[in-house]
């Protein structure tokens, strides 16, 4: 068991990495702005210093209104997905679980489809387009559906949950594509669906962050508090019950937190894969499976990873923007393969 001190040390280290990544991502972008200028601008903004601007007003706008929200957004989304992934992996006792397992991705796609077909594209509420809100609600709705389907006699067994998740995913995905095809919308909306399916963090603004950041923070903190309960779940639901865990209640609570985190991530970034699957694995391999460390560490590592991936997506072929989800899959896929090859024995069960 890691001591408190060691856990704190590791978390501080990861936080430093995240901070460094965010600095890097703010300094570099599609447009070249001298890092020194960025530093001066920031100090000005924080009222820590007063430099005469050697930069154009437009550059300041780019840094603080276009780039920085994307960096912060990427960090939030990465943290949310990685935490949700660790939660699901721990609760469902399955190292292949990812945040989309119990229907969140297909639910979001379904919500998006309904909104795109039946609602005017330009509705929005406090910075969130109608499609984002629909994706959020769809994700949560699907999880709720999966849960009620899997509930037998007051209990939801893990296998039933996973099966129900797969079934609901198939169904909702099929209905969504069917609607798009039949309503003749596919040609029009293909671009929007494509953008959603492969994830993107290009248009985040501060008002969206103001809404999502508290939710994501609270979710991650709650999950970390309940980490020792997730540990107990690794003995199985019966074993956890023997240890005094109120299994059904905690399952609902923790799955609910995971679903909420995922829904938040999906509603601004679309479907970004591999973060929720691979990051917790790496953390576990590096630091052991104790969720008291894995949950917060995954959050920090996931945030760093996505910030850097987003940086790559924005700059490799600047000013063209690559899809973030494609990049995470390109990177995550081989890493996952590597982990599988290297640690096959530990995964055999």
């Amino acid at each position: 068991m890691k001591s408190r001190k060691k856990i704190a040390l590791i978390l501080v280290l990861l936080a430093a990495v995240l901070f460094g990544a965010m600095l890097l991502a703010t300094a570099i972008g599609a447009v070249h702005i001298a890092p020194l200028d960025i530093l001066k601008m920031t100090l000005n903004k924080l009222h820590l210093a007063h430099f005469d601007p050697t930069w154009r007003a437009v550059e300041e706008a780019i840094v603080f209104q276009v780039r920085l929200p994307c960096v912060v957004g990427a960090a939030l989304v990465g943290a949310a997905l990685a935490t949700a992934g660790s939660l699901f992996q721990g609760l469902l006792r399955n190292p292949l679980a990812d945040p989309y397992l119990i229907g969140t991705s297909s639910g979001a796609l379904f919500g998006l489809t309904i909104a795109m077909i039946f609602l005017p594209a330009t509705l929005s509420f406090s910075g969130f387009g109608i499609t984002s809100i629909a994706a959020f609600l769809g994700a949560l709705g699907a999880v709720f559906l999966v849960y009620t389907l899997a509930r037998i006699g007051g209990r939801t067994h893990v296998v039933t949950l996973i099966l129900a998740g797969v079934a609901v995913s198939f169904l909702l995905t099929a209905i969504s594509w069917f609607l798009l095809d039949v309503m003749g919308e596919l040609h029009w909306k293909a671009g929007a669906i494509y953008g959603f399916l492969w994830g993107q963090i290009t248009a985040v603004d501060w008002s969206q962050i103001a809404v999502l950041a508290p939710i994501i923070f609270v979710g991650i903190i709650l999950a970390t508090f309940f980490a020792f309960r997730v540990n107990a779940f690794s003995l199985g639901e019966e074993g956890a019950a023997y240890l005094g865990i109120n299994v059904e209640r905690d399952k609902v609570l923790l799955l609910g937190i995971g679903a909420l985190l995922t829904a938040c991530a999906v509603c601004i970034a679309g479907l970004i894969g591999f973060v929720g699957l691979v990051i917790p694995h790496i953390i576990r391999l590096a630091f052991g499976p104790d969720n008291r460390l894995v949950l917060p560490a995954s959050a920090l590592a996931g945030a760093s990873f996505l910030v850097l991936a987003d940086l790559l997506a924005r700059t490799i072929l600047a000013p063209t923007v690559l899809k973030l989800g494609i990049l995470t899959a390109l990177i995550g896929g081989p890493v996952f393969l590597y982990l599988l090859l290297r640690y096959r024995r530990e995964y055999a069960f």
């Binding site: 671009g191 959603f196 985040v204 090859l341």
Partner: protein
Amino acid sequence: MRRTWMPISILLIAALLASTIVLAALYATKPTKSELLAGLTPAEAATMSALAPVLAFSPEDVPGEVGGEPFIDDLGREVFVPGASSVESIVCLHPAATETVFYLGAGDKLVAVSNAWTGDPWAEYPGGPGEYESWITTPEEVDNEIEQRVWDVKDLAAIPAAVRVTPDAPYTLNPEVTLSPQNIDGDPLLEGYPDVVFVFSDTIEYAAGIEELVPVIVFFPLSLEDVLYDMTVIGKIVGKEAEVANLIEEIKADLLDITMTTLIEPRPKVFLETGYYWGTIYTTGSGSIVSSLIYLAGGDDIGTAVSSGAPSISPEYIVYEAPDIIILAHLFDTPDGVAGRPGWDTIPAVVIWQADPDEGIYQLTVEEMDQITRPGPRIVQGLMVLLGIIHPELS
């Protein structure tokens, strides 16, 4: 064994990753700016390089005769079209080609057309040849004109790899159904197959099945002179060579006139947005027809920083380039929404729009979008739309 092939597999995966990124970088390269002719700014050079091939184009250079020399389509395929001096029945799955056929006065040869991309099938199809004004007919007039000749498709006996065409089908083809035009009451109007099929695509895939039964001409114009080439091919196939030669001369003259007036004016920076999907901004990119039109209309298209193959563009770049004019060629966002994007309130176009909603950010109507993006006879009208936006004092 395990020890040796593990590093090898890691190397393979790393190589795969690296090559993917390298390939992407190579093929999505920023376009090379046109050669700097002595004394011209890059924008002027772009304009000239858009105009020059148009002026140099001549219908006589276009190979192909019905019943004679094969045509060469935009994919480089040689297509032999049998017939006397022209064909009698055409299935046209390319809205611009449909417009051309009608404009040339050969609308009666059409037996089936595809749904126009805008989703509103007939509003933009002109009814006949003539001047620009008469092109915009009411939907009812056009409906009557075409109704007689555009049919629902019924299945014939299952002949594999033919094409289903209905007025409702999107332009992508379903390569598995038979083609049998009949009129609305079910009487067969055409026995067998059409003489030729026009298709818009960048691959032969869609037409792969049909071409065994019917000659298929694939159009995919990438530049203004390609548009003229396509129209010439169509003119030859429908037996209206004289009309098409006229049309081309008119277009060349109009383009030259407009460009000469805009060349000497100061060029505003223009950003034309073709899509806004889940936060990703799309433009047409360098080398595209629309981009050429923007230059000819006297603007400086900042979207040429990305190539037309991968036309997503970073909002940072747009804010940095500070365009004076933003044109929305899609319906996925409104000028309000554009003005509200984070950091965009520093853009001159947005500032102008906030002061006067008729200026700065321009939302094109569906019809205008067609004129600009449909590579057909109304290309000059498209240019006029842009001119009206970019240099209203000249139009």
